[in-house]
């Protein structure tokens, strides 16, 4: 870190931005594997229904609850068949789409709305904060399942409505976290330094406060992902969520539950998918937190460039 250390000019750095990021990803093997897993799941979600949609819904009562790792019915039954004899593998791949749509949609909506109001509540004066926080308290004190039942009963079960309901119940988490962090960060010296320079409120919030609290929010969002997937399944279980023949992993778990004693694979595989997705997201967000923090980034940079 001596004064004489040469630093690359910025234009070169910008060109290398993407490849540098990939390099950092490669250096964290867990995150790298997670990224690949997530890409595969994304591919499932995008192409799955078109390729395997028919297979996933075709019933075959002879293959009811057929055990996994038995290739006599063809490779598609490698993970076994469900209670109506539909291949689990195909259903898993097809279900990726609606699962990801609901989970990602709900988490992203809750994150954006929660962070937005959290920033306002934390940064603005007492009145705005009071109003927003009491509203959040109302949402939190209302049993989320009850809220979901009411809303979905009125609006009718569909994916956008599911996203809406799940997002509303998760908003307070982001809102409260954001507000708490903002209250701390806004007192930091560099925020005051920005005020002295004449920075506008918008600039202070977006340039100085948000980047500091973003890693926390992203970490919560990834943890929330699994929660939302399971919440969606409990709504489906009550019959107000995703309706068959549409499928999600959560729905598959709840459909497999009665057969846990006789055919564990019905609930196990979709459960595993939820775990793998949540875990991958978590590992990736962990990597992202380090990669986006200038003070931590060196951990992921190659020795050569830091020693140069």
């Amino acid at each position: 870190m001596s004064d004489s250390t040469a630093v690359k000019p910025v234009s070169q750095d910008q060109n290398k931005g993407a490849s540098a990021l990939l390099g950092m990803l490669w250096r964290d093997k867990f995150a790298f594997v997670s990224a690949i897993v997530l890409l595969i799941i994304m591919a499932f979600a995008i192409f799955g229904p078109a390729l395997l949609g028919d297979l996933a819904t075709s019933q075959n009562l002879r293959g009811r609850n057929s055990p996994p790792f038995d290739l006599s019915r063809g490779w598609i039954f490698v993970l076994g068949g469900d209670s109506l004899g539909r291949p689990i593998l195909a259903r898993l791949i097809v279900a990726a789409q609606s699962t990801m749509a609901v989970a990602a949609g709900a988490v992203a909506t809750a994150l954006v709305i929660g962070a937005f109001f959290g920033l306002i509540a934390g940064y603005m004066g007492k009145t705005a904060s009071q109003i927003i926080m009491r509203l959040a308290d109302v949402i939190m004190s209302f049993p989320s399942l009850l809220l979901a039942v009411v809303v979905l009963y009125v609006l009718g079960p569909s994916i956008p409505n599911m996203i809406l309901v799940l997002a509303i119940t998760r908003i307070p988490i982001y809102l409260r976290t954001t507000r708490a962090e903002v209250l701390e960060v806004r007192e930091r010296m560099f925020v005051q330094a920005a005020v002295v320079m004449g920075a506008s409120h918008r600039r202070i919030v977006l340039r100085h406060i948000l980047p500091v609290i973003a890693p926390t929010l992203i970490t919560i969002a990834t943890l929330d992902f699994a929660f939302v997937m399971l919440a969606e399944s409990s709504l489906s279980f009550l019959g107000i969520g995703i309706q068959p023949p549409s499928i999600t992993w959560g729905l598959m778990v709840s459909q497999g539950r009665p057969y846990l004693n006789t055919a564990w694979w019905l609930a196990f595989w979709p459960g595993l998918m939820i775990v793998i997705t949540a875990l991958s997201l978590n590992l990736l967000s962990n990597w992202m937190r380090v990669a986006l923090d200038p003070a931590q980034r060196w951990r992921l940079e190659s020795r050569k460039s830091t020693d140069a």
Binding site: D3, V7, F190, V195, R207, V212, P294, A295
Partner: protein, 538 residues
């Protein structure tokens, strides 16, 4: 020679980091006897705290690795005993106090509880602990000690917290007290009291004191012997007087040379036009009056120092002028326009003319912005210099002006040392070509030699660009070298103001006199002489 109470022999410690191995200390040996004060003097990063941490078993291994060395205390080899044995020793025989007292007091317990716990944890009865706590809290100069014990850490000032920490460390009458920068965060008068207290306690109990410090004044005041460290090695060792008067090593000479307060007092320059005129400025928080009827004028190209202890309203003064806080009463005329009542929209233009450099550059620079972004942010805010190339060239120029390299543009604050960071903060302030820079303790957090560099830089900028300074400081040496006029503040009031020469040679107000008397001189002889005359006087 009898065996020393604590001996460190040929200690070498490496830190294994992802960036390679750092030799934190190499072959460090020192010892301390009963009733003796050893000062370990060095700047940040010199490894002065590492050997003390090794004594206390506070080094995390890994990343740290004790490569070689031995530490003896009463015949025991401290590097070889078990964790449990160490625990029995820590606090009881060897106690430590730290620089940052807020970080070391638990905010959810009363201080009384925490001080008492120190003793009960080592198996003493609680009544005894309470009595001793009360005695010590009275001793360290906390007002209303009985009530104080029932208060929480946040209810005390920084200085009081440090005194509580000292009380806590002394609960079990340790043989050895290791003090890591104990008075760095304290006001001069409090510092003098704390050092006097440590001296007294040492005479009574005969404990050994190991004082880790960067302050030559503290060394002169209290140390018997001093060990000077630089880059992990001991470069010089001797009695405090020897080292000050006959420094053998070049580093020691540089350190002594950099100590402020030895140069000529600045003579006021020719009369210049008034830039800022403050009158009747007041600010209260509830019942607490932070600022009372402040009035002064600042001329163009002048530097005005505001001195006072913490809580005297120095920072409030700066913050009300900058409108970071709204003043209750009074005016601050900036070139004839009142800053206090000015609407927000007009204020934006003024913000460009008045910049501020904060105390701690680690906190005042956004850690997620590169140096280029930090320095150019002001232009973005004020819509200046739209051309990217010109911006970049100007940032590089500014970096050179503050003696950093143009290539530092794309680095982030954490990649710099404290002094370099403060220079980035100064470059940021300069970017908007301000007419006034308010420095709120801008050099207090820096090492002496770095401090000297930054002060020289500020002085140079004043000469070249005609910038005025409102310079808030508690270090009188720095003020003496830098300021044209001085304001002395106490409890929100300006008790004395005048030219630097008048304040330093003939202080009128008793508080100013006390402040000057408490200021520590780096020369041990002057310090000893002062102590004698001080003892004779009352």
């Amino acid at each position: 020679m009898p065996e020393a109470l604590l001996t460190v022999k040929n200690l070498s410690v490496d830190f294994h980091t992802a960036r390679g191995t750092v030799h934190a200390v190499r072959n460090v040996s020192w010892s301390v006897n009963r009733g003796e004060t050893l000062a370990i003097l060095g700047e940040s990063g010199s490894g002065k705290s590492v050997s003390a941490s090794a004594v206390m078993n506070l080094l995390d291994t890994p990343p740290a690795e004790i490569v070689s060395g031995e530490i003896f205390h009463e015949g025991k080899e401290l590097l070889k005993i078990s964790y449990e044995e160490h625990r029995a020793l820590n606090g009881k025989k060897i106690a430590m106090i730290f620089q940052d007292p807020l970080g070391h007091l638990n905010p959810v317990y009363t201080v009384g509880w925490q001080i008492v716990e120190m003793m009960t944890a080592h198996g003493r009865p609680i009544e005894m602990a309470r009595a001793r706590a009360l005695e010590l809290v009275t001793r360290v100069g906390i007002p209303e000690p009985e009530k104080a014990l029932k208060k929480y850490p946040h209810q005390f000032s920084g200085g009081q917290r440090q005194r509580l920490m000292i009380a806590m460390a002394l609960m079990l009458k340790p043989d050895i007290l290791i003090a890591d920068e104990p008075t760095t965060a304290l006001d001069v008068t409090v510092q003098a009291e704390v050092l006097a207290l440590l001296k007294e306690l040492q005479q009574e109990t005969g404990m050994a004191l190991v004082l880790i410090t960067h302050d030559l004044g503290v060394v002169a005041e209290i140390a018997d012997r001093v060990v000077v460290m630089s880059e992990g090695e001991i470069v010089e060792e001797g009695t405090a007087r020897e080292v000050y008067h006959k420094p053998r090593h070049a580093y020691t000479r540089k350190l002594i040379g950099a100590a402020p307060g030895k140069g000529d007092i600045r003579q006021p320059g020719p009369e210049a036009s008034v830039l800022l005129e403050v009158s009747g400025l007041e600010k209260t928080y509830g019942n607490f009056t932070a600022l009372k009827d402040a009035a002064f004028t600042l001329a163009r190209g002048q530097s005005l120092a505001v001195v006072g202890e913490s809580g005297s309203g120095k920072s409030t003064l700066a913050r009300t002028i900058l409108r970071l806080e709204q003043a209750d009463k009074g005016t601050a005329l900036w070139k004839g326009r009142d800053l206090i009542t000015m609407p927000q929209r007009d204020l934006l233009a003024i913000r460009q003319q008045i910049q501020m450099v904060f105390q701690d550059p680690t906190q005042s620079l956004n850690p997620r912005m590169s140096v280029y972004q930090l320095i150019s942010e002001g232009w973005e805010i004020h819509g200046l210099m739209p051309d990217r190339k010109a911006r970049r060239a100007r940032v590089e120029e500014l970096l050179e002006q503050v003696e950093l390299l143009p290539s530092h543009c794309d680095r982030y604050p954490h990649q710099f040392s404290g002094g370099q960071r403060q220079r980035i903060a100064i470059a940021r302030a300069l970017a908007l070509e301000p007419e006034l820079i308010i420095c709120d303790e801008a050099v207090s957090a820096l090492d002496v030699s770095v401090q000297a560099q930054v002060m020289a830089l500020l002085d140079d900028l004043r000469a070249k660009l005609g910038i005025s300074y409102l310079f808030i400081a508690h270090d009188l040496g720095v003020v003496r070298d830098f300021a044209d006029t001085v304001l002395v503040m106490k409890e929100g009031e300006i008790v004395e103001q005048g030219s630097t020469e008048a304040i330093f040679s003939a202080p009128q107000h008793p508080y100013t006199q006390r402040l000057l008397a408490a200021n520590l001189d780096p020369d041990p002889d002057i310090q000893a002489q002062r102590a004698r005359s001080g003892r004779a006087a009352p």
